[in-house]
């Protein structure tokens, strides 16, 4: 973190901000400020260079054509890859998650190269879209409570040896591979299919990103009663028969 200000970068809202995922940026910013941190939020449009000095980068979901355009422009720009090389924390959702992998299937039904920041490869499922509430257990080493979110995608994401599954689903499709995995992560880069937005449903994940960026083991507590009320409602609702 530079100059006592946390630099929070929201990548390509013109292309990848269709499913309310900018809520992730709002949640991280709010929770950082509640801890007394100064936050600089930088929204980077796809005709602008991605700054390399950010502390946390957030990328959201988008439609199929914007996803292709975003991947092309991020590869050409190379700022995000350099930021990752600097050890920045990157958290991505849905289309953004696929872009961080080695490749995905684009709107023209072609295999398109991603940034290769996560050891995953995405294809497209043949069946119905995965749409609905998801419940899962986050990978135990991360020490986080249950995952709740909303998925809306047709992707199938296979994990390579250097990516760990972010969670195991109890309900919902997640990575769509049939092995119960959801999302992927390595030391600093995270990907998930969860909307909701996922950090509003799981503020402890937002705090994990802050802890990693600040390199601290703990953060001062916040009043999370509304988050907790929402979580318990959604976790209960997900388990009700539709």
């Amino acid at each position: 973190m530079s100059d006592n200000s946390l630099r929070l970068v929201w990548v390509y809202p013109d292309l990848l901000s269709t499913y309310g995922d900018q809520g992730n940026a709002l949640v991280v910013e709010r929770r950082a400020r509640q801890r007394g941190l100064d936050v600089t939020r930088i929204d980077v449009r796809s005709d602008q260079p991605v700054p390399t000095s950010g502390d946390i980068y957030l990328i959201g979901g988008g439609e199929d054509r914007p996803q292709r355009l975003a991947a092309e422009r991020l590869r050409r720009d190379s700022g995000l890859a350099r930021a990752a090389g600097n050890g920045a924390i990157i958290f991505s959702v849905c289309a953004g998650y696929q872009i961080l992998g080695h490749e995905f299937i684009n709107d023209l039904d072609q295999r398109q190269p991603g940034l290769g920041l996560l050891d995953v490869v995405s294809t497209r499922g043949e069946g119905e879209r995965c749409v609905g509430d998801v419940l899962g257990d986050i990978d135990p080493p991360l020490g986080l409570p249950q995952l709740t979110g909303f998925e809306n995608h047709q992707g199938i994401t296979h994990l390579g040896p250097t990516a760990r599954p972010f969670a195991r689903t109890r309900l919902g499709k997640g990575n769509g591979t049939g092995d119960g995995t959801e999302g992927a992560y390595n030391d600093t880069v995270f990907g998930t299919y969860m909307h909701g937005p996922v950090l509003a449903r799981n503020p402890q994940i937002a705090d994990l990103l802050l802890r990693l960026a600040l390199d601290v083991n703990a953060l001062p507590p916040t009043d999370d009663r509304w988050y907790e009320a929402l979580r318990s409602e959604r976790i209960t609702a997900a388990q009700q028969p539709a």
Binding site: D14, Y19, L26, R65, P66, P197
Partner: protein, 412 residues
């Protein structure tokens, strides 16, 4: 051509009768107005019934993400200056509901029809409209609807062979993309506050440049067409440069935009702007929207907002702080079951308003408002929210099924 000069063939007549009977049964059973079930029965008996019913009418189609029910009503009022009108005024906007509405208007000259965005191309093919009004396109119910740009593409393909005059909003790049395949377009500068679904050029994918009210793609040259009609503050400017004041009872910029588009539609059928606008002034509320009702001795204004663009326009028309505001959000089937869109709504615009939160998804709203740094109270229901609200008229903003729940509770 006016009126119903050729009788319907026997099977179509039977279909209309059977449809009306089914609707009557549905009404008697207390299952709504019956217009959709009636239309379904009729369409099953005579699949080309919609086209047959439309044959005898000058058909005007209205589609958009937001404002289609209100605009359909405004156009219907305006065209009554030129002849009898039949319209699906209750908002049943898919083929069955439309068929049912048209079956009820045998002596009409005009059919003013609201069409769900997904059905526009098909209904335009079946009804051979004289005019099509396209108001706006933005994100809505993404868990079940087509993607927004795909919808624009679908409109574009569906309208490319149409003989209709297309009245289209020049300020919405997705609408312009959809309409510009048509040979005969009347562009209306109707404005659009929400811009976040059109930063990417619908033609080439380039980044859209938006200096002031203008917009253009820096890469392919796709740009805002020169409008012949415009909304300018409280006035509508017609193609001759005359400015006509708008004195609607309906509130807000979005409704003035709807009136401007409606005046442009009316002009296609020879109704002058002044006559059209004066008729629109009679509209007070549309399917309960904008209605001021009495509840527990308080005045409540009922406002429907279903998606980020709708909430943005609604925030711009509510009374100033400290007017109390009740927000109600559900996520049932008709609303879309994903509430993520709440995070695309800028709730900091409610700063200074006492806020009361109800509805099935009040906890989603609570977290949203907490993160937007707003003070709010979560209430069990409308009764409790109204009891807690400080004095003054209460603005009640709700999404689709939450709005229906409200109307039921206040007896509207």
């Amino acid at each position: 051509m006016a009126g119903n000069t050729e009788p319907l063939p026997p099977r179509a007549r039977l279909a209309v009768t059977a449809g009306k009977a089914a609707a009557a049964v549905s009404r008697a059973a207390g299952r709504g107005s019956g217009s959709v079930i009636g239309g379904k029965v009729a369409l099953r008996l005579s699949p080309d019934l919609l086209g047959r019913l439309a044959q005898h009418l000058d058909v005007i189609l209205v589609s958009a993400t937001n404002g289609k029910t209100t605009t359909t009503r405004l156009i219907a009022e305006a065209l009554r200056a030129a002849g009898p009108v039949v319209s699906n005024a209750l908002g049943a906007n898919m083929p069955a509901g439309i068929t049912s509405a048209l079956a009820g208007g045998s002596d009409a000259r005009f059919g003013v029809i609201e069409v769900d965005e997904k059905y526009l191309a098909g209904v335009a093919r079946d009804t051979e409209p004289k005019a099509i009004a396209l108001l706006n396109l933005s994100r809505d119910q993404l868990d079940r609807a087509a993607e927004t740009r795909m919808l624009a593409e679908h409109w574009r393909e569906g309208l490319s062979g149409s003989k209709a005059v297309v009245i289209a909003n020049a300020d919405d790049p997705l609408v312009v993309w959809a309409a510009s395949s048509s040979p005969n377009v009347v562009w209306v500068a109707a404005g659009q506050m929400w811009k976040d679904d059109a930063w990417s050029c619908p033609s080439c994918g380039g980044v859209m440049q938006r200096p002031g009210d203008d917009w253009f793609c820096g890469e392919c040259g796709f740009r805002r067409p020169a409008p012949s009609w415009a909304l300018n503050g409280e006035y509508v400017l017609d193609p001759h440069g005359s400015a006509w004041p708008i004195h609607l009872q309906l509130p807000g910029r979005a409704n003035r935009a709807n009136a401007a588009s409606s005046a442009a539609v009316a002009a296609v059928f020879g109704v002058p702007p002044q006559v059209a606008l004066e008729r629109m002034y009679q509209v007070q509320a549309v399917a309960g929207r904008y209605d001021v009702v009495q509840f527990q001795g308080r005045d409540l204004r009922l406002l429907l907002a279903k998606n980020p663009a709708g909430w943005l326009e609604t925030f711009s028309l509510i009374d100033q702080p400290p007017t109390p505001v009740v927000l109600s959000v559900n996520a049932r089937g008709a609303d879309g079951t994903d509430t993520s869109w709440l995070w695309d709504v800028d709730y900091t615009r409610l700063t200074g308003h006492p806020i009361f939160v109800i509805g099935d998804r009040k906890l989603d709203l609570a977290v949203r408002l907490e993160v937007a740094h707003q003070s709010f109270q979560v209430c069990q229901n409308l009764d409790e929210a109204v009891q807690m609200a400080p004095p003054g008229r209460i603005e009640v903003i709700a999404n689709y099924t939450a709005f229906q729940d409200l109307r039921r509770r206040v007896g509207n």
